[in-house]
């Protein structure tokens, strides 16, 4: 189980990182979203896996799931939305200013500056 879950999180991370390195904003936003899934899940796993733990401190509940990582992740999810929304706005604004959705504000030129084509 531990190996399987770790592999899943590793895969999410790798996919997120690869998209993060793409040159267009939309891919970067997708990458960041995948990456935040992975990070949230990792923090959540800090409280360890248990399919049988009780989620609520109701009378008679034993073996309660660790609530601290959950509280951390809950706010992280919401803030993650705030970040995504802000990035989208930034990307659209940059598109409006530069006319391109390339992260550097201009598509790359194949020839280095200063060298004739």
């Amino acid at each position: 189980m531990a190996l399987l879950v770790s592999a899943a999180i590793g895969l999410l991370t790798a996919c997120g990182l690869y998209l993060l390195l793409r040159p267009r904003v939309f891919s970067v936003i997708l990458g960041l979203t995948l990456l935040s899934y992975a990070v949230n899940a990792l923090i959540f796993l800090g409280g360890r896996l248990s399919a049988t733990a009780a989620p609520l401190a109701l009378p008679g509940a034993v073996g309660l799931a660790d609530p601290l990582p959950q509280a951390l992740v809950l706010t992280a999810i919401v803030i993650g939305f705030g970040m995504t929304a802000y990035l989208v706005a930034l990307a659209l604004r940059a598109k409006g200013e530069t006319g391109t959705d390339h992260v550097d504000g201009a598509p790359p030129t194949d020839t280095p500056p200063g060298r004739a084509e």
Binding site: V5, L34, S50, L56, L68, G82, A89, K95
Partner: protein, 934 residues
């Protein structure tokens, strides 16, 4: 006099810096008075100490500053410090007066005096430091302020290059000095000079002694322009002449020899010292004197002469005999006096004639007899003419060269012969200065007809030349006491008895002086042969060329490195960052104590449901990556991954997370879909395959690292720190949903910060998109379909229902899954559906909500809840709870934290809706596609 007055002495020039900057607004005269006042104040504070120090006392002042780092503000005033403080402030005062006349009338002087005073303060700090680190700090202040002063006329490229060169050389030496001082303190066990100076034997016997010596000498030699680091000084003549007169004769360049004198008791009197210090001094002495004669520029001649005299002082200190050290101190005094007056005179000549080129000057004695007389006397002192002060110290030097213990047999003649030769060269360039400027036939090539300068401009020369004569004629009476006190401070021992007199009878030194004078004059007469010879075999000034070459190589290498590392591209930065992170992680893993990746805990049994979940997750994530250029499809794949994550939360006992993730997922997807309208739907593959493989490798390594971390974590024992929260949730927080109680109660302050961040992000988005006009991509035109009737009909009654559900989620949140975050998201989704179904115009017209105000209201409520607890005398955000039983709804527990949760809920609604409506409003002000990309 309290030792603490030393701090006032040190502060006086620094306090003068803002003073002159303020005063310059009232006129240059005010600025000059301010600067003079600061120098005079320093002298006044110094005066009461004089008699005690002259009687052999050492005043030490100590304020603890950073005692754990051995850093105290500790100052000392001994004979050597007194001598230098007197030179710095006394000559400084004269320079302030001179500069007021020298600098052009349109210069307001404030900036100049501010730099000059900062330099004087740094120099005083060097002279007065008791703590060696403090000495280094002030040493660097002199380097920096001299950089500013040399580049004072910053319009001139020559001045800027010279300043940069001086800073690179002296600043580099300062770094070496810092290293040397740190090693010295390590060996001697203290940063305090009083202690270090008493441990000379310990240091000299230590294995690190050669290293310390070389590092300290690098500092001293660069500052005092010793060969081969001399080249910055002639270039620094681009500075205004008052700067040259001050820094390059009396103070800054003397800091190097001051350092040699200061550390004399610790580092000197070894063979290595004799070879390095004596050797460098000797080479510099004769090289400077030789080049000085070749210079056509008046200040260039003086600069090389300064290099030569500094070489003489260094040589004297390097001779390792007590009397040579006394002679060195004596020559420091004499050289400061005559060289400052010569620089000032050169400045006057430049000022009056419009040129300093000796080939164009001539016969000035007729035009300015008084200035000429003064300059001739000073030049005589420089040449070592009897009855002047320079003669006395040169005579002492000659005495020390005869019968030096390190040179015996036939070698016993070598040193005196060398001294006489160098003396000859000094006489030759002094003769050139006097003859070509004041006597040789007027060439009528001078830009202006010169005349005597204003009386006050000449006053500094008057004073200094009077000192030349006084010291020359009455040495014992004038400099005897300070020379004894300063020499005692240098030697840290009793000074051997010496007699300062102008006549010692007919002896060997006198014969050497006579030989130098006669030989020098003859040599000067034959100079044209020398010039011809020199022009034929023009020697390259090797060290300056080497410096410039090294500088250009460094510049080029830095640019190449920058070009390599900085492609001005965010993906490259990210890839570099990621690469470094991977390397760091691997390195940390490698260097940690070896242990297996898997911990002691069992791995746990897998079950089919998890396998299915992971398979779906993999499909979602990989699909997003593989199809990321077809953006709509990629978005669908990504939402699959998000859905699996929410389900995983649900399965592993985190219902709150599942609810939050699910609703955030919905909102995010809608947001991205809306953004896609303005971005290309499909992108072309533009990264080269090599680049893609690189990124894939980096991403794979990163993923592997995270997986390893996760696996190591999961298989290791774990001890929760949540025990307190779980135990106190029901009795203390009044809720069984521990996660929610943590959010709104235990860690309420964190949550307040988090909703503030959320609000800021939403406001930032609002600011970014406000008024933005974009060209829609996506097939260009807006769909002409009416909004689907069925959806619209269904959505309208759904809104109240959805709100009821979210109120329920909100109210039960303290005990069951739910709470402000989730309730806010549910309401936001319900509102969003109205926009989707009815269109933005329809929804805006009916909802009339200003979401910025909703944000503000939410924050205000959350804040007010926190503040309310102050009314009850409790800390911020303390909560109270109890049961209420309103009709119909039934009994439920209510906590004051619920009001806080309401604030959270409102902020979430505000943020989400602000984001969505801003994006929706973009559609109302689209540009026609034809105007955009063709």
């Amino acid at each position: 006099m309290s030792p603490h007055a030393l701090a006032a002495l040190l502060l006086a020039p620094f306090l003068g810096v803002p003073l002159v900057l303020l005063l310059q607004a009232r006129g240059r005269r005010w600025a000059a008075w301010g600067a003079a006042g600061a120098m005079a104040a320093g002298l006044a504070i110094l005066a009461p100490f004089v008699s005690a120090v002259l009687h052999g006392g050492t005043v030490v002042m100590r304020w603890p500053w950073l005692p754990e780092w051995g850093m105290d503000v500790a100052l000392r005033l001994d004979g050597l410090g007194l001598l230098f403080a007197g030179l710095i402030l006394g000559i400084g005062l004269l320079i302030v007066l001179y500069a007021a006349y020298y600098l052009p009338m349109n210069d307001r002087l404030g900036r100049f005096y501010a730099m000059l005073l900062a330099f004087a303060g740094g120099m005083l700090g060097v002279a007065l430091a008791e703590n060696m680190l403090l000495l280094v700090v002030f040493w660097e202040i002199t380097s920096l302020s001299s950089f500013l002063l040399i580049a004072y006329w910053s319009d001139s490229r020559e001045a800027r290059v010279a300043a940069r060169m001086a800073l690179a050389v002296t600043g580099g030496g300062g770094l070496a000095l810092l290293a040397g001082v740190l090693l010295l303190a390590h060996v001697a066990g203290s940063f305090e000079l009083s202690e270090v100076l008493a441990r000379g034997d310990l240091v000299r016997d230590h294995a690190l002694y050669p290293v310390i010596l070389v590092l300290v000498l690098l500092g001293a030699f660069t500052k005092s322009a010793q060969f081969p680091f001399h080249f910055w000084l002639p270039n620094a003549m681009a500075a205004p002449t008052p700067v040259s007169a001050y820094l390059h004769s009396a103070t800054m360049v003397k800091a190097g020899v001051f350092l040699l004198a200061r550390f004399y008791p610790v580092l000197a009197e070894t063979d290595l010292w004799l070879v390095l210090v004596g050797g460098t001094g000797a080479v510099t002495f004769v090289y400077g004197a030789y080049v000085a004669l070749l210079k056509n520029d008046l200040k260039g001649l003086l600069a090389y002469s300064t290099i030569s005299h500094l070489g003489l002082i260094t040589l004297l200190l390097g001779l390792n005999t007590p009397m040579a050290a006394v002679a060195a101190v004596f020559h420091i005094i004499n050289h400061a006096i005559f060289k400052a007056s010569l620089f000032i005179a050169a400045g006057i000549i430049d000022h009056e004639c419009g040129t300093r080129d000796m080939r164009r000057l001539g016969g000035l004695f007729r035009f300015m007899p008084w200035t000429a007389t003064l300059a001739i006397v000073a030049a005589g002192s420089m040449a070592g003419v009897p009855l002047l002060n320079g003669f006395l110290s040169k005579e002492m030097f000659f005495v020390e060269t005869i019968n030096h213990p390190a040179f015996f047999g036939a070698m016993g003649y070598a040193l005196p012969a060398f001294a006489t030769l160098a003396g000859m060269l000094s006489v030759a360039y002094s003769a050139r200065f006097v003859h070509e400027v004041f006597f040789s036939a007027a060439t009528a090539d001078m830009p202006r007809t010169p005349h005597e300068p204003p009386r006050w401009m000449r006053l500094p020369v008057d004073v200094l030349v009077a000192l030349v004569l006084l010291v020359g004629l009455l040495p014992q009476w004038t400099v005897g006491p300070i020379l004894t006190a300063a020499s005692a401070a240098v030697l840290q021992a009793d000074v051997p008895p010496f007699k300062l007199a102008i006549w010692h009878g007919f002896n060997m030194p006198l014969a050497m002086s006579a030989a130098a004078l006669v030989g020098g004059l003859l040599y000067y007469r034959r100079r044209h042969a020398l010039f011809a010879l020199h022009a034929r075999f023009l020697p390259r000034l090797a060290s300056q060329v080497a410096f410039e070459r090294a500088y250009r190589i460094a510049e080029f290498a830095a640019m190449r490195l920058m070009a390599l590392a900085d492609r001005r591209s965010l993906p490259t930065y990210l890839a570099l960052f990621l690469g470094f992170t991977v390397v760091l992680g691997a390195w940390a893993w490698h260097s940690a104590t070896p242990s297996s990746l898997a911990g002691p805990l069992p791995w746990g049994e897998t079950d089919p449901v998890t396998w299915v979940g992971v398979a779906l997750l993999a499909i979602g994530a990989l699909g997003t990556v593989l199809l990321h250029r077809q953006r709509l499809i990629a978005l669908v794949f990504m939402s699959v991954a998000g859905l699996v994550v929410s389900l995983a939360f649900l399965r592993f006992a985190a219902p709150d997370l599942a609810l939050t993730q699910l609703s955030v997922e919905v909102v995010t997807i809608v947001l991205l879909l809306m953004a896609l309208r303005y971005l290309p739907q499909e992108a072309v593959a533009e990264s080269s395959p090599a680049l893609r493989w690189r990124d894939a490798a980096l991403a794979g390594l990163g993923g592997l690292g995270v997986a390893a971390l996760c696996f190591a974590m999961l298989t290791r024992p774990f001890d929760t720190i949540s025990g307190y929260h779980i135990a106190q949730s029901v009795p203390g927080g009044g809720g069984a949903n521990v996660v929610n109680v943590i959010l709104v109660d235990f860690r309420g302050f964190d949550t307040l910060g988090e909703i503030a961040v959320l609000a800021m992000a939403a406001l930032g988005l609002h600011a970014l998109l406000d008024g933005l006009r974009l060209v829609p991509q996506a097939g260009g035109t807006r769909t002409q379909d009416r909004y689907p009737v069925m959806l619209a009909m269904l959505m309208r009654p759904l809104l109240p229902l959805a709100i009821a559900v979210s109120v329920h989620i909100f109210l039960r949140g303290h005990n069951l899954p739910g709470g402000g975050f989730i309730a806010g998201l549910v309401i936001a989704i319900a509102l969003m559906l109205q926009y989707v179904a009815g269109g933005i115009d329809f929804a805006q017209a009916r909802l009339r909500l200003d979401y910025v105000r909703v944000l503000g209201l939410g924050l205000a409520i959350a804040m007010a809840t926190g503040l309310a607890s102050w009314l009850f005398g409790r800390p911020f955000l303390t909560s109270a709870h109890g049961y209420v039983s309103p009709p119909i709804v039934g009994s439920f527990e209510i906590a004051s934290a619920m009001a806080f949760d309401l604030g959270v809920c409102l902020v979430v609604i505000g943020a989400v809706m602000l984001a969505l409506t801003e994006l929706g409003l973009l559609g109302c002000r689209e540009q026609a596609p034809a105007q955009g990309e063709g």
